[in-house]
Subunit: 135 residues, 2 copies
Amino acid sequence: MADHPHPSDPQETSVDEAVFHERYPSRRLLDLIASRWTPIVLFCLASGTHHYGQMQRRIPGISKKMLSQTLRRLETDGLVHREVYRVVPPKTEYELTELGWRLHEPVRFLCRWAAENAEIFDRIERNRTVASVSE
Amino acid sequence: MADHPHPSDPQETSVDEAVFHERYPSRRLLDLIASRWTPIVLFCLASGTHHYGQMQRRIPGISKKMLSQTLRRLETDGLVHREVYRVVPPKTEYELTELGWRLHEPVRFLCRWAAENAEIFDRIERNRTVASVSE
DNA sequence: CAGTATCCTTCCGGATACTG
DNA sequence: CAGTATCCGGAAGGATACTG
């Protein structure tokens, strides 16, 4: 582990450089939302309380395993509240906590930006196609 | 080709549901930036043209392999321009393209939001710690 | 300096089957 | 209905060695 910042050189790691550090907020945010399902689940719950099966139906392609895993993670992180009703048939409700709502903010921004700049993705996709053809 | 729900699609798959589809811009944006190194490399290049070794020194923890891979990806996507100078010793310069700059926008937003809401991550981390202790 | 090539380990995530 | 348990293939990613 090359932890380089030696006391002898205090100025080397400036404030600017800190942005790239693992513990810097930007990295931590990405570690949180930069996964396949987390943002989509967050977004889904932003439209209101949901049941398990309901969510699985709304999110195409997600498996039970991934849905459970994602929800559990969000729950232990305190972003989602899980309310279990001991009835027959069983019923469980998931909803965003206050913390969850706060995190939803940047996610929503991303979604909106993406929608408004949709042509970018087509351009990128074209670039990629051209590159793969010419190789 | 993904069977996208065409507009004629009567019920069940409303506009709202489309948000969760793979081909929807939000998903595509996440596929692009939701990786360990891509956003950080993008962010790094946003502060100006860089050399290879320069970047490796600025970004702690990145391996040569990952740096190369990430840069190659960004290059074929048309987000980064690579200029090779055939001199001794070899020199290569990386810089953002116009497309790269556009994508930098949401990345910068994320970083800024994260910095302004840094306490959120501490709260989440505490939640996680508590959960792991009590199990 | 600026990479590529190779090996190897870990984790992601889908499919399936089972339970309360 | 609302999950958990298990298996397994493939991709991500680190370490190391080598090249122009």
